[in-house]
Point group: D2
Chain length 299, copies 4
């Protein structure tokens, strides 16, 4: 009857994860996206605009990303925004633009899905479904993408513990989808000079506890374009399997997140730099040299 005795104890959580646990599956999972292997020795860079704005914008950025060694195109058609008065994306029109640009460039596409009712539609256009930070514990959505046949990029909630993050992934695996990529994107702390605090401790910790590949988003994690290359190098050094980076030709005109977007020339320099770090830690990035030299002269 007396429950007071243990009342200063922290409430103990649920039992440990199963399906995402590395003890269950010691070898690392490799997520295959149209032949690109995430979780292999190659560091895979996904880049593109925060939001899909129009065909010209998207195609130009996609070509630049590809020329510099980016392997997957990111771009939001459905945009979660703090204010209902901000631009919230082109919706299905944006998805169609992504599909068009994929066809023209051959780059697979990762894009966000925000609502269970959109999952089927987004699946028709995307190569990877992104579940955003604010939806990491939208359990209905996790269950729905868990029933899809395409990979899921799951972003860590901005105040989710490592444990909660892994449980969110567990929801997806439990519903049948084993192709999950974890993404550290910055956590909320007291610090205000950066948008979030990119938590690179999370990378080795996630890889120790789980067999799933782990990528890092230095754009949201810092909120400042000039910091992105620095944190991208750190992410590669700390063992990330890939990066998610925002690129835009005219960041000051971007409809979303301009201050954290890299211009293509800066993105290209960043790719050169992280390639060196990747090699220093026994990994690599395949950069299409000739096209890259070409792109340098045209950008």
């Amino acid at each position: 009857m007396e429950r007071g005795k243990n009342s200063q104890q922290v409430i103990s959580g649920p039992p440990p994860v199963k399906l995402v646990n590395r003890e269950t599956k010691p070898e690392g999972t490799i997520v295959n996206v149209q032949g690109i292997q995430i979780g292999s020795s190659e560091v895979v860079v996904m880049a593109g605009p925060c939001a899909v704005e129009n065909r010209e914008q998207l195609l130009a950025i996609a070509r630049a990303v590809q020329a510099s060694g980016g392997k997957i195109l990111r771009g939001g058609a459905f945009k979660p925004r703090t204010s209902p008065y901000s631009f919230t994306g082109l919706k299905e029109e944006g998805l169609k633009l992504l599909a068009t640009v994929r066809q023209e460039t051959g780059l697979p596409v990762v894009t966000e899905v925000m609502d269970t009712r959109q999952v089927e539609m987004v699946c028709r256009y995307a190569d990877i479904l992104q579940v955003g930070s604010r939806n990491m514990q939208n359990f209905a959505l996790l269950e729905e993408v868990g029933q899809c046949n395409i990979p899921v990029l799951l972003k860590r909630g901005m105040s989710a513990t490592i444990k909660e993050f892994l449980f969110a992934a567990e929801y997806i695996l439990k519903h049948g989808n084993q192709q999950v990529i974890l993404c550290e994107r910055g956590i909320r702390t007291f610090e205000t000079s950066t948008r979030y605090t990119l938590d690179l401790n999370a990378v080795p910790m996630l890889k120790k506890l789980s067999h799933l590949p782990v990528i890092v988003d230095p754009s949201h994690g810092t909120g400042h374009w000039w910091m992105v290359p620095w944190l991208a190098k750190a992410a590669v050094a700390v063992g990330a399997d890939g990066l998610l980076v925002e690129v835009h030709y005219k960041p000051e005109e971007a409809l979303s997140d301009g201050p954290q977007c890299l211009r293509p020339d800066k993105f290209d320099s960043m790719m050169q730099e992280i390639n060196k770090v990747a090699r220093a830690v026994g990994r690599k990035i395949s950069i299409p040299k000739p096209i890259h030299e070409l792109s340098n002269s045209t950008v």
Copy 2:
């Protein structure tokens, strides 16, 4: 071209909220739930089990809640749970039990909706739709409940700033539903001796910035049943328009959140105590005295 100059600045946010802003509507909004006025001089207590488990449990708790002065019955039919292996609620069966008990007791019902596809169904059974902390920025869900004709209880995200919280409410009002109740339920901090840190600063700040009523959930906010009456008193003193409290006859057997549930006798004492505090700050709680005395002898 040079963006470096301002780069140490924090990214400025969106323009201020409009519809929820007290400057737009200086007098406080009163949300009317079957004649119960939330935002009036009466402090409205909503109480019940974390999860609906069965008819007997729910009815017994509802009668106890009512006897002690609780005005609205809370109970989860859809339960967001960190682990996919935890009990996730009775779903529609739970909603039906809530409706039955409402009929028997006359208590209006508040219950959570987690998915846009469930909104219509939950509306058929509930008097107030609850949007949980983990869905505070599930914008698709906000838009959907914004189109409903029944009040919405919006819980603050566990790491949402006051500003983000108000923007989430703005989504609902912008879609047509003006009947929104804000609920502070504890934020995530470094402290580990409590489940969350109930942020009572939020109450006067929200009431200054917005005309919407504000209630407090001391059960989730602390995670310890013995702390609930203390923080409930503080919440009333700091100006809360209501409370959301978990009550269970056998907390140690509760399928969810047992350690933070009050037993009915403790809930009854709490109601007596907060009534005194309410009167000290110029408010009141109407406690049905005779029934209360009766319930004391039967519990």
Copy 3:
């Protein structure tokens, strides 16, 4: 040899506190300051300017504080400031002013000590030594005040857990001084609309774990003068044994922390309000009525 197995565990902390533990001493400690009992049924209010500025300022504020029921005068002679270019206090001259005003009003004085080398000097003038938030783990200072014969008001570090806070107090008791008052003054969180997040959960938790009296500082805890009365009422409702409040006649000219200082008339209203809450929770505040009426006409 293999240490990897437990590596995901959180490093376990030191064994529990002893001397400050309520299990060691079940009855609450009452700290006696010139006949004023902190930890008794009376809620003791300590108030005054953030920094001692001059004799006129200090005396006028002291008389107003006293007239409204304040029992102890607060005022900083040594001020910890984030920037070395801010006003850092009048030093010993400030202590002398405090002593003078104490003599004129009879109000005991609480003032901060920041350096082990100042302890002896501050002891000559003060009735309570304050150890500030930034020095909560200045262990040399804790040991030094632990050897003094006058009470110590220990403020919680802005990111100290309850456990660390109690260990800091343990340092003082272990060195011989049993007269310690714990003070919750706001913790650092992600929220930016308030200066800190006043953690009222801490009050019942500290009182459960320890026998030491607990007071609350709503001025630093919120950073906004208009919030102070609200949080003061909540602090009394949640069980605080006292309050520490900043009062200034001209907050806009204060050399430190103006935006969080109450004017004497607002302080007086606050005292009336918290008195009602105190009585609602079985405590009291003795307000000198006639003097108060007099002060109302002169201020």
Copy 4:
């Protein structure tokens, strides 16, 4: 008279730093410690036990550190400990051991000073004075080390913003000492799987805002020995000028912080790895190859 209008504003802080500001001194400061240049192209590694325990322990670790390329010996003689019942260091005896081992190995020594009264004594033995995280805003101590003639290693407070960290350094420079090394050592967040959250965003941000060299402590920043090499690589990649690492022969017997100490063989592997990363980002670490090979066979 009406101050309410701006009351939802965050209290604005003090004006920007001056002496530590990179705008005041665009070229980076190089701190010279017995010929070792911190802030140059070389990444300087400081390593050793958390606490000095005895001569044998210290000398053995120092030789291992040196053999692997460590340039400065760290070791605590005065240990700030959360609990007064933990080992708090050998005090002056520990300083003497550090001086002896310095003489035998030629390694300069960095050690913590916790109290203004100890500064003179510690100066007699140390090559760098360390001000710990818990004392980052012990302003009396900052002023005192600001008057010393030897370099100061200033650790970021566990909940200090970048701005507050720079202001703490400003105190030291303002009092005359220009030789300050900033050290990121992990901040306090909600995450519990690591001891702290090492904030690598801080490195480029500090280097942008200030001319002072910046080093990183991955031992405290993670709390797990196996994570240290990962975060050390990331720290070098993100631009750190040095590292502070805990090394112990028998971590399980260490009197302080064992779980985060590297064994010498792991430290040696780490040095090889970070050397590769350093070269990839245009920097270097001078590792005494022959001695290193020798040490491999003897350890």
